[in-house]
């Protein structure tokens, strides 16, 4: 069992920590160097957390548990106008990032109002590529419960909805979190941070359930092993200017390389046991730019597991 952690510390000697994580059989998902500070998103075997914490203390860095590491979450707002940005949409997305998630803010083309609110085909495809979608809705209960569910009722990913009024549940959503709604100010008070924490908690719970579901019919290869193989066999991934050239999903990943140019090379990535990547995963074009989306086949579909 791998535990998701976020390390924050100085650049000096941080490579000692990355080497330790690799030696322990963990993975480094993201490394952000900001002047003299470095932030690492890492996965470490649960039994070895103590060793990593000791090393972090020696390097005068801090380690915190970041439950959303290895997931990509769509933060969906009805539009990108000042009615929804920067508060609360960007604030929530930033808070999720601080908990390890990779977030994408999506502003819908026709998400506003009641009569015209709808999702386009490309928006539906894009949101379905994520592990979970968080919808940021407004202040009126009747809008949220009676109308806006049309935006997410036929999505395949778990949906969490936030809005202004307090309410127990809304149709088609995994969970609803009230007390946010349309805001013209940031989150400053401890009560407001408690709401953000409850969003993280609900998302973690939804993702844990998805993980449990995946365990019933396990993936034919661990996504993190696949990521390491791709990094080694396609070195161009490392040359991408994106902060996360490979963005992990629970059951696959987004590779930020052009599909037309790299799909064959990705399909032909070889494993030491014999099979190639196309035997264990589907490679298809992403709705986001020209990227590749990789969905790992389950053991029952692939017929074997590595």
């Amino acid at each position: 069992m791998l535990e998701p952690l976020m390390y924050t510390g100085g650049v000096y000697r941080h490579d000692e920590l990355t080497e330790l994580v690799e030696d322990l059989g963990g993975h480094i998902l993201q490394k952000n160097v900001m002047q003299l500070e470095v932030v690492l998103l890492i996965l470490v075997p649960a039994d070895d957390i103590g060793v990593v914490e000791e090393k972090a203390a020696e390097l005068l860095g801090t380690i915190i548990r970041a439950p959303l590491i290895g997931t990509e979450i769509a933060v969906v707002a009805p539009s990108l106008a000042y009615h929804h940005m920067p508060h609360p949409t960007c604030d929530i997305a930033e808070y999720l990032r601080r908990n390890g998630a990779k977030t994408n803010i999506i502003g819908l083309a026709r998400g506003v109002g009641r009569r015209a609110a709808q999702l386009t085909k490309s928006e539906r495809g894009l949101i379905n590529e994520h592990d979970l979608a968080l919808f940021i809705l407004g202040d009126f209960l009747s809008c949220i419960t009676d109308v806006k569910y049309q935006l997410y009722e036929d999505l395949e990913v778990p949906i969490i909805v936030t809005g202004g009024p307090e309410c127990d549940a809304v149709p088609y959503a995994y969970a609803y979190i009230g007390g946010i709604g349309r805001r013209a100010k940031g989150f400053h008070r401890s009560s407001e941070f408690a709401i953000l924490d409850s969003i993280v908690e609900k998302i973690s719970k939804a993702l844990d359930e998805r993980r449990e579901e995946l365990e019933k019919d396990p993936l034919s290869v661990s996504p993190f092993r696949l990521m390491d193989e791709i990094n080694q066999q396609i070195p161009e991934v490392g040359e991408s200017l994106s902060p996360t050239p490979i963005t992990m999903h629970l059951d696959g990943m987004r590779i930020k390389l052009p599909y037309d140019e790299y799909c064959e090379r990705v399909r032909n990535v070889k494993f030491i046991e014999g099979p190639t990547l196309s035997d264990v995963a589907e490679v298809r074009p992403s709705h986001m730019r020209e990227y590749l989306i990789l969905k790992i086949k389950t053991k029952s579909v692939a017929g074997f597991a590595l």
Partner: protein, 187 residues
């Protein structure tokens, strides 16, 4: 910070009304128009759907004229303007360009402008604070109104603004309700 009693929101949805009240206060404070719009009355019903806002506009400062921005003296090179209030220089230059064309205007330094004319410049208005105030007030109201309500009817005068917005064509009933708000507020 805006006085919370300045904003009164009426709606069939009580929770929504409280949230819109808070949002209005925040938006007005944020855009620096909290002192310019008073006695705000809002009616919002998402089921109809309609958003009506009445607000009393504060008295705005007098218009800025050319003589408020610069002093004029005739010289051999033309008319010389010595800037005394630098804040409105851009508006002054726009006005001079409109009157004489950019070829006849030379800004020697930060505080000196030469105009190629021997006549006095008419003392025209270069900046209208009332126009700027209305622009900011309308901007803030559009931020408060739900984004989907794109059909808008408004009345604006020296002393008040009445703003009606909806997703559907504006109905007479809503206009009457707006005028009722006006009467209640004593406008």
């Amino acid at each position: 910070m805006i006085d919370s009693e300045k904003v009164a929101v009426e709606s069939p949805d009580k929770q929504g009304a409280c949230l819109i009240e808070e949002l209005t206060s925040d938006v007005l404070s944020d855009l620096d128009v909290a002192q310019s719009l008073n006695n705000i009355r809002i009616y919002i019903d998402p089921d109809e759907p309609v958003f009506i806002l009445y607000g009393k506009l504060a008295v705005s400062p007098p218009n800025i004229k050319i003589s408020d921005v610069a002093t004029m003296t005739h010289t051999d090179d033309g008319l010389k303007l010595d800037i005394k209030n630098e804040r409105y220089v851009n508006d002054l230059l726009d006005k001079l360009i409109a009157l004489y064309g950019s070829a006849n205007i030379l800004q020697l330094d930060r505080y000196t402008v030469l105009v190629a004319t021997d006549d006095d410049i008419p003392d025209e208005t270069v900046y209208e604070p009332a126009t700027e105030l209305r622009r900011k007030v309308i901007d803030s109201i559009r931020r408060v109104a739900p984004e989907g309500y794109r059909i808008i009817k408004h009345e604006i005068s020296e002393s008040y603004i009445l703003f009606i917005a909806s997703e559907e064509p504006i109905e007479d009933e809503w206009i009457n309700r707006g005028h009722k708000l006006l009467k209640e507020a004593g406008a």
